[in-house]
Symmetry: C2
Subunit: 199 residues, 2 copies
DNA sequence: CATGCTCTCATCTAATTGTTTGACAACTTC
DNA sequence: GAAGTTGTCAAACAATTAGATGAGAGCATG
C-alpha cells in the first residue's frame, strides 16, 4: 500500500473541457446505444460503455443514476425519434422503402427494440393509429381482403428481418446482410411484395 | 465453522433415481431451453436452470462442461429438429401455416434463434436449399417477378414476428400476441398474403 | 483570492455468479 | 460383500461487475 501520490492527472484537452456536462451526457448516450444494441442490457458492461465514451464509468451513475437509468433514458430517447415518421402524401411502397433504408443505415434502434421485446420490457407506447392505413386501403393502395393492422406488422417484420435474422440471410442468400448487394436486392423485393399486396 | 454433520440427505425418490444419468441430462436440457429462450445466454442463471430441473447446478459442469457448453448443446439439438420440415407435397400456404402453428405452440426455438442472431453467434448451418421454392414458383405457387429467396426470408420474418415483436402486436392490434384471437387472425392474414404473392 | 458549486476521476466495496473441490451414495463387477 | 466407477450434492472459491466513497480540478461569484 505505498501511496502513489496522485499524479496531477494529464490534461483532458482543456479547450473541450469547458462545455463538458452536456457533452459527456451525449457521449455516454451514444456509447450506450452502441453497447446495448450490440449486447443487450444483461450483456453490456458499464466499463465498456465508459471506455467507448472515453469517460469514467462513475459518470454513468452521476448522470443517469446507474446502468438501468441509462438504459431507460435510451429507450425514451428512441421513442421520441420514432414518432416523427409516416408522411400521408408519400405512397406506401415508398414509405416502406424509406423505413428500410433507415434501418440499414442504423440498425441500432431496431436491435434495441428487439432486445427489449425479448426481455419482456413493457414500454407503454400508445396504441398505434391505423387510420392512415385504412385510408390507403380505401384509396386502393392495399387490397380489400387484407387487414391493415396485419399488413403494418408484416412491414415491420420485413424491415427488421435483416437485423433480427442475419443468419437466415446468410443461409438463404449466401451474402452478408449488410452488403450493398443484399440491401438493394431486399429493397427491390420488398417493393414488389408491397405492390402485390395492392392488387 | 461447526460441522453440521452432513444430514443423510432426504431420499431423492429412490425408484426414479435408478435411470438417472440420461434423465438428468434431459431435465437440464429442457430447463436450459426454458431459461435461455426466456432470458438469453447472458441473462440466464445456471442456478435457475438447476432449480428448474430440480438438480444441483454442479451437474451442468459435470454433463456439459459448464454454462456455455450447455448453451451450445442446445443449439446443436435444435438444429437437428429444424431439419425435419418442408414437405414438397403440401401447398406453400399450408406449409407456412404449419410453421406458424409450431411457432405459436412453442416459441422457444425461435426465441433462441433470435437471441443467437442478436449476439452474433455463427452456427455454421449449411446453405439453405432453394430448389423447392423454385419448383413452387415454376408450378405457379409464386409470382414470377418475385425472388424465391426473398419470399422465404419474408415468411420466416412473418412467422417469427409475434415472438420478435410482441410489443408491436399489442400496439397495433391491441391484443395479446399469444391470445387465440391473435393466433387465428394472424394465420388467416398470413394465408391471404401468401395467396397475394402467388397472383 | 477565498468560497462554493459542478464535473471528473481512481479506488474500494459488496454482491452476484460460474466453476472447483471434496465428500458420499448408488450401482456394478468381481 | 469389497472395490471401483458413476452420479449427485453442498460448500468453498475466484472472477466479474455495478455502485459507493472521497478527493481533486475547473470555474464562477463574492
Amino acid at each position: 500500500m505505498q501511496g502513489t501520490p496522485k499524479r496531477p492527472r494529464r490534461a483532458p484537452t482543456p479547450e473541450e473541457r469547458k462545455q463538458c456536462p452536456e457533452r459527456s451526457r451525449r457521449l455516454l448516450l451514444e456509447a450506450a446505444m452502441d453497447e446495448f444494441s450490440e449486447k443487450g442490457f444483461a450483456g453490456a458492461r458499464v466499463q465498456d460503455i465508459a471506455d467507448r465514451a472515453g469517460l469514467n464509468k462513475q459518470l454513468i451513475t452521476y448522470y443517469f443514476g446507474g446502468k438501468e437509468g441509462l438504459y431507460r433514458e435510451l429507450g425514451r430517447e428512441w421513442l421520441r425519434r420514432e414518432a416523427t415518421f409516416n408522411d400521408p402524401a408519400v405512397p406506401f411502397e415508398e414509405l416502406v422503402a424509406r423505413y428500410l433504408r433507415e434501418a440499414f443505415d442504423d440498425p441500432r434502434g431496431i436491435r434495441l427494440a428487439i432486445w427489449q421485446a425479448l426481455t419482456g420490457e413493457v414500454g407503454d407506447e400508445p396504441r398505434e393509429d391505423l387510420s392512415d392505413m385504412r385510408r390507403r386501403q380505401a384509396a386502393g393502395e392495399l387490397a380489400d381482403d387484407l387487414d391493415p393492422a396485419a399488413v403494418l406488422l408484416m412491414c415491420y417484420a420485413m424491415v427488421s428481418a435483416p437485423a433480427t435474422m442475419p443468419h437466415a440471410v446468410r443461409q438463404i442468400f449466401g451474402i452478408e446482410p449488410d452488403s450493398p448487394e443484399f440491401r438493394e436486392r431486399w429493397e427491390e423485393q420488398l417493393r414488389r411484395v408491397v405492390r402485390h399486396l395492392a392488387a
